[in-house]
């Protein structure tokens, strides 16, 4: 692992840096500009708890009629061993999450059981004691911002649509859609790889696949900053990838605007085999890696939306989705 990382550092430095003018020409949105011009301006602080606490998100989603993975139980206060076991004992597959975890931290996915042991999605086995400790850690605030005491959610494991099976290694791909003032502006699929250790974080080596908003087809794929054509582990070509039920998925993302009231929003969506797109979580500070995955800067699209007439900002969800799909068609590079 360490050896590989050194190679990765050398890779990073070898290419040198590009001039800020070049990035500016490409319309790349930087971290500072995102924080000041978009997050601070369009995201009300008082609405952050809706997305920062996943239990709140779930509640709000239910009210707004947005589909989410089924919540099995939530431990608001430190739970006794008996209570935790009561909840997880009858379950075959489940996910344990901190309600206020950030950056995908503290998510434990159990994909099956073998006797007394629980199988993680990566294949390794853990015991009930390990799960209890994990629950304890979450309660103590190990994964929450600022170490505040947290709540624990037990969620049903999504029955993933097999369409992505060949595009992901040891993990579950999810789709990130950036929604700006209700208009979807960019989307990507995150596929875990062997080197990302089953995680869907791009900086850990997951593959980012840019998805054309107009069609739901892949248009660009990147791993560790380099463009690729095939999944490094499964060797599947990204060229043929098309997300089924794309319109419904984008519509679900766009309707999160009404649900959260946040102007600059990242929605993480998974595809369930039966239920279709489900909102996994929403993010008030979505990262910028989506630009790399798409090979396109965000700023022009955001400026375009900002420049729309007042009446365009009062449109209904379907109209907004149709508008985005028409305007933000991507150029295919795969």
């Amino acid at each position: 692992m360490l050896q590989f990382s050194f190679k990765h550092i050398i890779n990073k430095v070898r290419g040198g840096i590009v001039s800020p003018q070049a990035l500016n020409r490409m319309g790349i949105l930087g971290m500072n500009a995102r924080n000041i011009n978009y997050i601070a301006r369009y995201n009300d602080r008082e609405k952050f708890p809706i997305v920062d606490d996943k239990l709140n998100t779930k509640r709000a989603a239910r009210r707004a009629g947005i589909q989410v993975p089924e919540l099995i139980a939530a431990f608001e206060t430190p739970a006794s061993r008996k209570r935790v076991m009561e909840v997880i004992d009858p379950l075959w597959k489940f996910v344990i999450k901190p309600a206020r975890g950030s950056g995908g931290k503290g998510i434990l996915v159990i994909a099956g059981r073998e006797g007394e042991k629980y199988k993680k999605i990566s294949g390794s086995q853990i015991e009930a004691l390990d799960i209890l400790r994990h629950v304890n850690n979450i309660h103590s605030g190990l994964y929450s911002l600022g170490g505040k005491p947290d709540r624990v959610m037990v969620e049903a494991l999504v029955d993933f649509d097999p369409i992505f099976q060949d595009y992901s290694f040891e993990g579950v791909p999810d789709i990130r859609v950036i929604v700006f003032r209700g208009y979807p502006v960019m989307a990507m699929l995150r596929c875990s790889t062997h080197s990302s250790d089953g995680k869907a974080n791009l900086h850990q080596g997951a593959v980012g696949v840019g998805i054309d908003l107009a069609t739901g087809k892949s248009c660009h794929a990147v791993q560790r900053g380099l463009r690729i054509q095939h999944h490094p582990d499964t060797k599947m070509s990204f060229g043929e990838l098309k997300v089924p039920g794309w319109y419904d998925l984008v519509r679900l993302a766009a309707s999160c605007y009404e649900m959260t009231g946040l102007g600059y929003l990242g929605c993480d969506i998974v595809l369930d085999r039966e239920r279709g797109p489900l909102l996994l979580e929403a993010n008030a500070r979505p990262g910028l890696a989506i630009q790399v995955a798409n090979g396109v800067g965000l700023r022009q699209r955001l400026r375009f939306i900002e420049g729309l007439d007042e009446e365009m900002h009062e449109k209904k969800v379907d109209e907004r989705v149709a508008f985005s799909m028409r305007e933000f068609a991507a150029e295919k590079t795969l």
């Binding site: 360490l2 990382s5 040198g16 790349i28 500072n32 190990l142 790399v292």
Partner: protein
């Protein structure tokens, strides 16, 4: 007003106030902008010596008054056995020593520290007497002298246009050995000095004048007698003359002790009185001079500042005032460079610890504690403890490690490692906890990146904070913190790219 404009307005105001106060302190109060500036402070000692006659004794010494070109930094009096007070008499301060009975030789001392402020003009005293007392020269034996004086005065008057040039001409004549009139006068007044004679002649010419007593400031001079200058009133202002050269203006290093007025020393109950001076110069840090010279006036800026605290607290503040500088380094590195650190301001705390421990020792101790702590933490994670007790256990471990490091290094004779106690233990424990989570979740590579980033920021912050200019400015001009605050506010508005993004988004530029 949009928030952006507000930020710029506030920042501009803060920067103006900060820079203005700094400029005031530098130009008006004389605080040096650069460290290591030295000023010359003269210590002048006046020794009053006399033989007491056995009865009550009263000695009154005229003290120098405030003058614009010389700043008096401090005075001390020594008066063993004598009662002492400072009295005010005719706009003059006099040190008065008194004693019921004394016999034999006596010595009284008055010592003052003086700092020469260059370039300041001599103030014009409005209250000095301009009364002219014509000398009595009517007696028969004085006929020749009177004629000689009249002739010199007449000659000087013909060759001059006003009081200033008249005085210069007169002094030229009095210094001219070949002049018969002059020689006659000096023979007559054999016991009088040049200034005495000049005063007499000026009085004849109806020009108000008096003597200035003082001394030339030259290093390491002992048993100096006071020297005299001449001051002349031209109807509008007082002009000082150096009597031997006849040139107007106070000589550069002349310290004025007494201007006009009566005698330098009044003595009752003693004989053979004598006032002698000695002068020594010291080079003193410029800041100390400013501090001492403003102390008396109780300059609000200085009085309500850190300098009014006890020395011990001042040294603590010296460190605290460096924290904003460290924070600025963190701000710059995060906003402009985009370095990832573990805990936003943890590197500043590390940098402060480095200041106390020295850099290399600090780095070694930090890495040692981090590695040992992580190792212990990995074992603890297998014991299924609650988070709070686990971190508390790490705190205890960190303290134990620090204790062991201190004792072992002391036994080995590495005294520097004793400074280990300056490390913030709780912060270290949390860092270890965070790092171990990062290790579990993101792998050791991320641990190295974050720990390395934190260390890099800490070392840079340490480097800036130990810069002697930065140390000097933060401590002597805490107002500069307002400028720093303004800068941080403005930087908080930066929407450009970070250095790391130029690398991160490189693949997007074809």
């Amino acid at each position: 007003m949009s928030p952006r404009v507000q930020v710029y307005v506030i920042a501009a105001l803060l920067a103006l106030i900060g820079a203005g106060l700094t400029a005031y302190k530098h130009f008006e109060l004389g605080f040096p902008l650069l460290p290591g500036e030295y000023r010359t402070v003269w210590t002048i000692e006046a020794k009053v010596g006399f033989d007491a006659e056995g009865g009550p004794v009263k000695a009154a010494l005229t003290l120098p008054r405030e003058q614009r070109n010389m700043e008096i930094l401090g005075e001390t009096f020594s008066s063993s056995g004598f009662g002492f007070f400072i009295g005010r008499e005719n706009d003059e301060y006099r040190a008065v020593w008194t004693r019921r009975s004394a016999e034999g030789p006596q010595s009284l001392f008055y010592r003052l520290d003086v700092y020469q402020t260059p370039g300041a003009a001599l103030e014009q005293p409005l209250n000095l007497s301009t009364e002219v007392k014509k000398p009595f020269l009517g007696a028969r034996e004085q006929e020749a002298v009177r004629l000689a004086i009249d002739s010199l005065v007449k000659q000087a008057r013909e060759r001059s246009s006003d009081v200033e040039s008249f005085t210069t001409q007169l002094l030229f004549e009095l210094n001219d050995d070949g002049n018969q009139d002059r020689n006659l006068i000096f023979r007559h007044y054999a016991d009088k000095s040049l200034v005495d004679v000049a005063l007499l002649m000026l009085a004849t010419a109806d020009i108000p004048a008096h003597r200035i007593r003082g001394l030339y400031l030259e290093d390491d001079r002992r048993r100096l007698d006071p020297e005299d200058l001449l001051e002349v009133y031209d109807g509008k202002r007082w002009i000082v003359f150096e009597p031997t050269s006849g040139m107007p203006g106070v000589p550069d290093n002349f310290f004025i002790w007494q201007r006009g007025g009566k005698s330098l020393l009044d003595l009752e109950g003693g004989r053979n009185s004598q006032v002698t001076f000695s002068v020594i110069s010291n080079d003193v840090p410029a800041r100390d001079v400013s501090m001492r010279s403003t102390r008396d006036e109780k300059e609000a800026l200085v009085d309500f500042s850190i300098y009014s605290l006890p020395i011990e607290q001042q040294s603590i503040f010296k460190l605290i005032l460096l924290v904003p500088v460290g924070a600025l380094v963190v701000v710059l590195l995060r906003i402009f460079v985009g370095l990832r650190t573990s805990g936003t301001f943890m590197p500043v705390l590390l940098a402060i610890a480095f200041i106390e421990t020295q850099l290399l020792t600090g780095l070694a101790i930090f890495i040692l504690i981090l590695v040992l702590g992580l190792w212990v933490r990995f074992y603890l994670s297998r014991l299924n403890l609650l988070l709070v007790s686990r971190i508390a256990a790490v705190v205890v471990t960190v303290v134990l490690i620090m204790g062991v490091i201190s004792v072992v290094s002391f036994k080995l004779g590495i005294e520097q490692a004793l400074t280990v106690t300056f490390f913030p233990m709780i912060i270290l424990a949390w860092t270890i906890e965070r790092m171990s989570i990062v290790w579990e979740e993101d792998g050791p590579y991320e641990v190295v990146v974050q720990a390395g980033g934190s260390l890099l920021v800490a070392v840079l912050a340490w480097w800036v904070m130990t810069n002697r200019y930065v140390e000097h400015w933060t401590f002597n001009f805490p107002e500069l913190l307002l400028v720093l605050l303004a800068f941080i506010l403005v930087v908080g508005n930066y929407t450009g790219y970070r250095l790391s993004e130029l690398m991160r988004f490189r693949p997007l530029v074809k």
